[in-house]
């Protein structure tokens, strides 16, 4: 069959399909609207497959590229519509937070433990070193930084804990922007064969260990611990989790196993996206606690420690027990 005859025979069908795509393609906009396109919604897949057939025929018969381009465009629009991702639903999001995310974390337990070791060991070693040899702090932080740090946690500072100046909201913004960005970068830099993630984890461990160790040494331990215990369960855990996701990514690059390297990376990328989604939520909660609860000066130490204990229990039982038993997963 010549191209002109082919076009003449099927032109109407193509226009009708295009019309349907224009009017009914967007499910949200067309909801409740009467369907006057001449194609019932449930007939669309059949119409789509006919267009696929015609495209294959047109290619086989060597029709002009313009015609093929038009058919392909129709087909692609149908393809995108038929195979689109389901819209996000609140129920699914809730199920992910409560069950899917903890399960994902436990599935990557090995990476998470290694990440924790890379973060906690430098922290503890740094803290202990500074108790024995306080002068080491000067090889890590500049005098200005030390002075700023001491000002933030000075017990004589009556107003707010853990900050120089700034209101609760301002600090909330700072924590959201800085801490979450650090977490997300910890994951992404894992693509450099784990090296980026390892560097970020160790550097943060040393940095936090130095701050804690120095403040403990100069006798500001009361204000320090009253400030940090509240948000630590969320913030420190989230850093470890993004680190674990980054290690998984780098490891899959270095040792893909019985898959192609790209397949292994894609798998790790999916895992990483899920973990970063949950970790971003944890960073958000941590920023909220850090800005509005941790900094309150008037709450006594026992109050802060009790709340911290409750939060640690919540976080750990969420990660260790969440989603056990049911395995239905989208």
């Amino acid at each position: 069959m010549r191209q002109e005859q082919f076009v003449a025979r099927h032109q109407g069908e193509w226009s009708a399909f295009e019309h349907w795509l224009d009017l009914r393609g967007d499910a949200r906009r067309s909801r409740g609207q009467p369907n006057d396109t001449g194609i019932a919604d449930e007939d669309m897949p059949a119409r789509y497959r006919r267009i696929c057939d015609q495209l294959a025929l047109a290619r086989k018969r060597g029709y002009s590229p313009q015609l093929i381009a038009r058919l392909q465009q129709l087909m692609q629009r149908g393809h995108v519509l038929l195979y689109r991702t389901p819209p996000p639903r609140w129920r699914l999001a809730l199920r992910f937070v409560l069950a899917g995310f903890p399960r994902q974390v436990r599935q990557q337990a090995a990476a998470m433990w290694i990440s924790m070791a890379l973060f906690v060991l430098p922290l503890v070693i740094m803290f202990a070193t500074l108790q024995a040899r306080p002068e080491v702090i000067h090889s890590i932080m500049s005098p200005q930084e030390i002075a700023g740090l001491e000002r933030m946690y000075d017990p004589g500072n009556e107003e707010r804990l853990g900050r120089d100046s700034g209101t609760d909201w301002q600090m909330f913004g700072v924590y959201v922007m800085n801490n979450t960005s650090i977490g997300l970068r910890t994951f992404a830099s894992g693509l450099l064969g784990c090296l980026g993630t390892i560097y970020v984890l160790i550097a943060n461990g040393i940095g936090i260990g130095a701050v804690f160790g120095h403040l403990q040494q100069v006798g500001f331990s009361d204000t320090l611990w009253r400030f940090v215990v509240g948000h630590a369960p969320f913030e420190l855990t989230a850093i470890v989790l993004t680190g674990g996701a980054g290690l998984r990514l780098g490891y899959n690059l270095l040792a893909p196993g019985r898959r192609s390297r790209v397949d292994a990376l894609v798998e790790a990328g999916r895992i990483g996206a899920r973990i970063c989604l949950g970790a971003a939520l944890m960073f958000l909660i941590a920023a909220f606690i850090e800005a509005f609860w941790s900094s309150i000066e008037t709450v006594p130490a026992w109050g802060k420690f009790t709340v911290s204990g409750v939060l640690w229990t919540l976080v750990l039982s969420w990660l260790l027990l969440g989603g056990r038993g049911n395995t239905d997963e989208a």
Binding site: R2, Q3, E4, Q5, Y48, C52, L55, A56, R61, G62, Y63, S64, P65, Q66, L67, I68, A69, R70, Q72, Q73, M75, Q76, H79, V80, Y83, R84, T85, P88, G166, T167, D168, W169, Q170, M171, F172, G173, V174, V176, M177, T180, S181, L184, R185, F187, A188, S189, L191, L192, G196, L249, V262, L265, V266, A268, G269, R270, G272, A273, C276, A291
Partner: protein, 230 residues
């Protein structure tokens, strides 16, 4: 034996058994789209910060949250919710799709945008550029890990009628892709300058047995014959 083609499209076989041709996009349009996005993001941020600056500490805090949203969430949300396009990509006629031609899901969008961190290394998207230039389908590292692809959005070509009415029989033995090339000439040549038409037509003088304008007319005739215009 088929020879490798110079085209940059990626061929994907859909579940219906039809090959989908995805025209992969190179680094330059993507960089331009990114630059447009950057200026839009900076502009919005600047306006927001000026407005929020009047509110003191509260405003600064909200401003930082806005900065977080614009930095991290803007590309993810736009690409998933707006057919794979950010504002810059829309301006340049680009779209992010899954590597199988399907629409972009949430997880791939998150992965490809988080991994910008690595593509930006060591400065100015150098790693991404090298990956993009060495990959067959112009993907940066984030695209490879997320299994996504940036494609050109097809522009609708209105096939113009062949200017010549004559019909000239095509010599037998032409392959389908050769026939397609002739038909394409018939539809697209009217958009070219006459000199370029003649230049292209002369390449086919062994087929048309004519040179210059006469050769071009014969090619139009063959295209008409192939299309079935009698």
């Amino acid at each position: 034996m088929t020879r490798a083609k110079l085209d940059t499209y990626r061929e994907v076989i859909t579940p219906e058994g039809v090959a989908l041709h995805l025209p992969a996009c190179g680094p330059v349009p993507r960089a331009l789209a990114w630059a447009i996005d950057l200026s839009v993001r900076l502009g919005v941020l600047l306006v927001m910060l000026m407005g929020l600056g009047l509110l003191g500490g509260f405003g600064q805090g909200v401003g930082l949250v806005v900065m977080f949203i614009i930095y991290w969430i803007y590309p993810i949300a736009f690409e998933v919710l707006w057919n794979g396009q950010t504002l810059g990509k829309r301006a340049l006629g680009l779209r992010v799709v899954a590597a199988d031609g399907g629409p972009l899901g949430w997880l791939p969008a998150i992965t490809r945008n988080l991994l910008r961190v690595v593509d930006m290394l060591p400065f100015g998207y150098a790693a991404g550029l090298i990956a993009c230039l060495s990959d067959k389908h112009g993907r940066r590292l984030g695209d490879m890990v997320a299994r996504t692809l940036v494609v050109h959005v097809g522009r609708e070509h209105m096939p113009s009628l062949a200017p010549a009415q004559g019909v000239y029989p095509v010599p037998p033995g032409l392959q389908p892709d050769e026939q397609a090339a002739l038909a394409a000439f018939g539809e697209r040549a009217p958009q070219l300058t006459p000199a370029r038409q003649v230049e292209l037509g002369d390449i086919l003088s062994p087929l048309t047995q004519a040179r210059g304008h006469a050769g071009v007319l014969r090619l139009y005739g063959m295209a008409n014959w192939l299309m079935g215009r009698r």
